[in-house]
Amino acid sequence: MTHALEIEGLTKTYSDGFRALRGINLNVREGDFFALLGPNGAGKSTTLGIVCSLVNKSDGRVSVFGHDIDTDLAGAKLNLGVVPQEFNFNQFEKVLDIVTTQAGYYGISLKKARQSAEKYLKKLGLWEKRDSPARMLSGGMKRRLMIARALVHEPRLLILDEPTAGVDIELRRSMWDFLEEMNRQGTTIILTTHYLEEAEAMCRNIAIIDHGEIIRHTSKRDLLKQLSVETFLLDTEEPLESAPSLDGFNCKLDSEGSLEVEVSKGTGLNSLFMELEKQGIKVVSMRTKANRLEELFVRMVEDNAQDAGKVGEVMA
């Protein structure tokens, strides 16, 4: 089985002495849709930066489709497309020029570069903007420009560092569709995101990184199975003065007066409603509190912080 990405014992100490990565191990299978999650400053961009040679590693091994970056860097790079976290194109250059120039860096002749640029700019809805200087694009368009630029040489592995930051809901969904389509056609995708909903919607496998260490590396399904408690928000017909005491359930009122109830796995919702019925509380609507993965995530990072004695540095 080939791996699209193999990382072994990767460490990084920045020149100021900061240890951003403390021995990362990560495998991403060919064809996977993989999410790298973690709070701000966890080391996500550092890890991806090393993979695409924007950051020099301190130690460890990285290979892309079997091409080790120490011995066959060009081979690794040819298979790789990168969408970085920050905008990094020349603001004064035209959209089409940016994408075709990038193809030229991969040795693709101008004619083919133009065709490929056209294909991806059209797919990403930027073709009408092809003659605009990049600085005149909106934030969401700039993100899509970077995706088109990353794909122009048709890499087998696409890495996206927070591709949907600052992108509105509608566009985000169309970007998800686009990425899923790319993945179906065989492109392996790795992304980082702070919208866990995004990881839950698209990704098959997940790694969680915190303080430069992988604290979890598993499939999304296994991760969700671990979720032992789910929190629901109930809106009642009559506003409640105080939280009722429901037998077998933890509950409280949230700031907007909705009733927040924790339901353990295996308890089932029927007994909750029976209990509510008994107390004469009429429920008008019900929703899950946070996205499920998010709850799990916050809990894991908190645990990790406690383990490491670093409480307070958790993601909000």
């Binding site: 920045y14 020149s15 930066g49 695409c52 040679s53 924007l54 950051v55 020099n56 860097l73 060009a74 790079k77 040819l78 790789l80 990168v82 970085p84 920050e86 990094n88 194109f89 020349n90 603001q91 004064f92 250059e93 020029d97 940016i98 120039t101 990038q102 030229g104 860096y105 991969y106 040795g107 693709i108 002749s109 101008l110 630029r149």
Partner: protein, 257 residues
């Protein structure tokens, strides 16, 4: 990458560089044409007519090769230093760093881009000078080789400057405090034979003197130094700066964390 791929990457960098300096032509192509016209009018015509001969030629004819060379030097240098530094600053250098283009092609592409600008300006200034004087060329191969190599050398210099620069100030320090004085003292406006012995000796330590004189030899056939020594010196400097540039790229200082 195969040979053809390398060639495509190389020309891609050049095309992008040319597109950049032609896009901002009022900053790049126009100013040298204006300043050189002023030099020709003031030094060449007004003052020059009182100076009489220098090195056996009209003063105007004497300074033309120097002024062409001066424009080539400053423009080759500033093209690479500003283009590469702003790539670093905007981080669009990452477009190159993630791609499989080898370092030597990156360097060659930027140097060729700097040469494209330096030589275009050299041509513009030459054309402008024809409005003031006539030029007959003494030794064409010498002219071409000297101007190409000098342009390459200062493009390399601009590249190293850009690699070392961390803020915009850093890219004007060398041109202002090193390049301009060396050029003015490098025999653009006078023959060093006018100087006392001691200052002649000091001038011989100025590399730009050799380039200006090599070029002047090619055009007029007169020189303060042996033109072949000039060529040799330029080649030695090119070799040294190329080695330094490649080493800096390999270490990635200032471009990779």
């Amino acid at each position: 990458m195969n040979l053809q791929g390398l060639w495509v990457a190389f020309t891609t960098i050049i095309v992008r560089e040319v597109r950049r300096f032609t896009r901002i032509w009022p900053q790049t192509l126009l100013p040298p044409a204006v300043t050189m016209t002023l030099y020709f009018i003031i030094f060449g015509n007004l003052i020059g007519s009182r100076i009489g001969e220098m090195g056996g030629y009209d003063y105007m004819q004497f300074i033309v090769p120097g002024l062409i060379m001066m424009s080539v030097i400053t423009n080759s240098y500033s093209n690479v230093v500003s283009s590469f530094f702003s790539m670093k600053f905007q981080r669009s250098i990452e477009e190159l760093l993630v791609s499989p283009v080898p370092n030597w092609i990156i360097l060659a592409g930027y140097v060729a881009g700097g040469m494209a600008r330096g030589l275009s300006i050299g041509l513009i200034v030459t054309v402008v000078s024809l409005a003031f004087t006539h030029l007959s060329i003494h030794n064409l191969p010498m002219v071409v080789i000297t101007v190409f190599l000098t342009s390459a050398l200062f493009s390399l210099g601009g590249f190293i400057n850009a690699m070392l620069a961390t803020k915009f100030d850093d890219i004007s320090i060398v041109p202002t405090f090193v390049l301009t004085p060396l050029t003015y003292l490098g025999g653009v406006f006078y023959s060093i034979q006018l100087l006392p012995d001691f200052w002649q000796g000091v001038s011989m330590a100025n590399p730009i003197l050799y380039m200006v004189n090599g070029f002047r030899y090619g055009i007029l056939g007169v020189s303060d130094v042996n033109p072949f020594v000039s060529l040799g010196m330029i080649l030695v400097f090119i070799t040294i700066l190329t080695a330094i540039s490649l080493r800096m790229l390999a270490r990635g200082k200032g471009i990779r964390h």
